[in-house]
Symmetry: none
């Protein structure tokens, strides 16, 4: 069989696999948004079955045979050298996915999926009851499954390297530490400096903002940003997320707190940034494994760019504050765009990453990175996690949670067995500002566009420079192609030090 | 391999098949409720893939081999005689499902699916243009495919018997005619009698009822009826339906018309009745093919019992009207429970079944049955259908459509090749009243319970007498077991003649 026919068969397998992944995504989206409480167990069984079937079909002997016809060594450039670049990238990514999938035994995979469903349900209850001990056995299982997974896949120096590499190909403990150490030092210093300055007024944010009106404003806002409502939705879940259920079905969620309107606004903008990426892949990679972000951190660079660099800028609120005020004319009648800008950029170390300001945000991530690294190296016992959490929190951010619910139990990721994922959040900040510098050098009037509420040119720049490639490049190569530079914390630190010097007047 | 091991393997196949069916149900539920407009094409691809996988796994050679180990002739009592009753029932139903799935050649199935797609498109246009002749060639094909399908499956005397048997096992043309003839005669006579009486006032229903408040009332109502909100949901779709997404996940939908509050109320109660059945199966048949209604008509007996026998009774509104009025104090301030009861029981022959009153409802079904029977026996030429429709309509309901669009072309079922399905709707009324008579003889204070809004004892009676059996008995045997009697139109006719004599005063 010639290479074109072999490749075509791999494309068929790949498309089928994507459709099964999307079906799984429908089940999961429903679980987070509308599933009746007692339906959780049945849903876990459905998920385990479907993931098992997807795995079985994707990793069938036929797939392996077709791949070896095209060069048996994974990512072997010689085997693929006569292919056009798009097919070469397809084959590299397909091989990586296949490799990841065949290395995990089927029974392991379904057991993990089942355990994850139960773990998530247990976490929800544990957090509600502030009862870490009820969650601990699940957490231990999740760590153990992750360690085994990393062993099956293989890793450089320790299992945590293998987990980091899943989300950020090419990154291990050493590479992450190299940027996180200066990042942590300079952010902690900035935090201290800010703590000595007078605090901007934000009291007007502490009013009752009707949830139905918040929901209307958020729908309005996402449309103004350019979200195509015929290809996606906004719903409510405990923890905001973006999920892709099909090439033309990308859904985001947010949550509404009556007295913190900024919470829903910034999570909506954040998830909209993710959705733009997912909705922006070009037709030549539609329905394929290449229709995906280059990495978790590159994905996060998009959400955090829209959330912070745009969404927390003064220019943005010059355009949007009049709109927001039209939804809440009473509560915001005496507030100006500038007041609002200062209030939403209030720096105040808080207990939870998702609600954190831009300065302390990455410190939360560094906390997780340090704890995960120590859990996997065996230095830290999971049972000691609540205490370790409190102590790290004190070191990095200078505060301590008064309950495990707002400490170690605050977040869904560990309950799903997602370890190695957190660093992406801070790496995303770094990528995002490196992209921003290039965007501004290509489109010098970027600030004016934002203050006019005209986001299309910015959108197009991201489409032409980032979205268009999907998962084709390795993240470090994409960064180099777009910006000409390697990963660095410098652009982010320059941006944040200058922005907050302006707000706090030092 | 011994029978217990073989059976256990069939149970595994059966449970897996149910989980895949439920996964398909999640995709379909989402499609009808929340899917973004442009996601439809991707969703169709996911559904086709998943249904193909489910079919392939259920009909694998392994399934056939296991079944033949337990006695190769379908429903062969000798092969199963040593099994306990529950396993014997499981095997009978599993065999029936398997049989249905394997008897249609794959080419036939895809040719039929293709023709159905074209037929539905042609029907949409034909109805729009009021042009039956454009739909006729497709209708002829649909009849022909149904006739062939019935031949593949096997039938008693004529192909229509086979189609009736799909939805109502054990029922053929003769059995249905035996109850439909007296039913048609007496309902037509009742309709004439009512037409000569003064019409109850229903003008107060034609007011603006806020949709959000309707939704709140419907949620309240379903909970008061006993719907367990931790095991199900209420959402909105174009056409109301009930769907099961798992043993503890049964969802219903309704639709809200601002000026017809009764529309959402009665479709909510109707679907709640279906949901009670689906939620009521006992643990010994959980997750198996036996956790299903005994038949379409028995299912319909539950929905129509709650919708009409309870939901359109004066006792019910004595309990519920004060609740309804508390949601719409302005619109209903001068209305009494008795006024409301009379208004929602207004009898007025209309052209379309779905909005019909209790008296004319079954006549719409009889019209379909007569026409379908004559089409399949060859007495009626499909080309003569428009004239036959008008003449039957006149005979049975005393009215005539002014166009084929609102007559023979009104409904989607025939365009999809769904013949034999309609009778279930009226048979459900008959089963329902036979069950009611037994319920009232077991619980004489039934009316008082209803007017107290205390539905639990009624619920428990249905659970102990109907739900508990699931799909185990043949519908006629269930009826006999519960009521000691065979199918008859008498209880329904007694109920309806007495109820409407009361309302219309004759």
């Amino acid at each position: 069989m010639g290479a074109p026919q072999t490749l075509e068969k791999l494309h068929v397998i790949d498309r089928e696999n994507r459709r099964l992944e999307w079906t799984v995504a429908v089940l999961r989206w429903d679980q987070e948004t509308y599933l009746p409480e007692k339906g959780v167990e049945g849903r876990s069984e459905q998920l385990a079955l479907l993931e098992g079937i997807a795995h079985e079909r994707f990793t069938s002997p036929e797939t392996g045979r077709l791949l070896s016809e095209l060069g048996s060594v994974p990512e072997n450039p010689e085997g693929d050298e006569k292919l056009p670049p798009l097919e070469r990238d397809f084959l590299r990514v397909f091989r990586r996915n296949y490799d990841r999938a065949v290395k995990l035994p089927k029974e392991f995979d379904s057991a993990a999926a089942r355990a994850e469903g139960l773990s998530q349900a247990a976490w929800i209850n544990a957090r509600r009851n502030n009862d870490f001990s009820a969650f601990l056995p699940h957490l231990i299982k999740m760590i153990d499954f992750s360690r085994q997974r990393s062993m099956y896949w293989g890793y450089a120096d320790n299992p945590y390297d293998g987990l980091l590499d899943i989300y950020e190909p090419g990154m291990g403990v050493d590479e992450v530490s190299e940027v996180f150490i200066p990042l942590g030092d300079r952010l902690s210093a900035l935090l201290k400096k800010i703590a000595s300055c007078p605090r901007p007024d934000s009291i007007f944010l502490d009013q009752d903002f009707d949830i139905e009106r918040q929901a209307s404003f958020n729908r309005d806002l996402m449309r103004r940003l350019g979200f195509d409502i015929h290809r996606g939705r906004l719903d409510v879940s405990a923890h905001p997320f973006t999920t892709t259920l099909g090439s033309d079905d990308v859904r985001i969620t947010t949550r509404y707190l009556p007295r913190q309107i900024q919470s829903s606004i910034f999570s909506t903008i954040h998830e909209t940034g993710h959705a733009f990426y997912e909705m922006g892949f070009p037709d030549d990679i539609r329905d394929s494994c290449l229709a995906d972000g280059a990495s978790m951190a590159v994905h996060e660079s998009q959400s955090r760019f829209w959330e912070n660099v745009i969404g927390r800028s003064l220019s943005f609120w010059e355009a949007m504050f009049p709109v927001l005020r039209s939804y809440f004319p009473g509560a915001l009648s005496l507030v100006t765009a500038d007041d609002f800008y200062r209030a939403i950029n209030l720096v105040e170390p808080s207990l939870i990453r998702v609600e954190a300001d831009e300065v302390s945000y990455s410190l939360h991530v560094i906390l997780r990175f340090d704890l995960e690294r120590d859990l996997f190296s065996g230095i830290l016992d999971p049972a000691d996690l609540p205490a370790a959490w409190r102590s790290k929190m004190k070191d990095l951010l200078g505060i301590e949670p008064d309950s495990d619910a707002s400490g170690v139990l605050q977040d869904v990721h560990w309950s799903m067995g997602s370890f190695g994922y957190f660093p992406s959040y801070a790496l995303g900040n770094l990528y995002g500002l490196q992209f921003r510098d290039k965007l501004v050098s290509d489109i010098p009037q970027t600030e004016e566009l934002i203050s006019d509420g005209n986001f299309a040119p910015i959108h197009n720049w991201f489409r032409d420079n980032i979205y268009i490639w999907g998962r084709r490049p390795q993240p470090q190569d994409l960064l180099k192609t777009v910006t000409g530079k390697s990963l660095s914390a410098e652009p982010f630190l320059r941006y944040i030090e200058s922005k907050y010097a302006g707000i706090y007047g030092f």
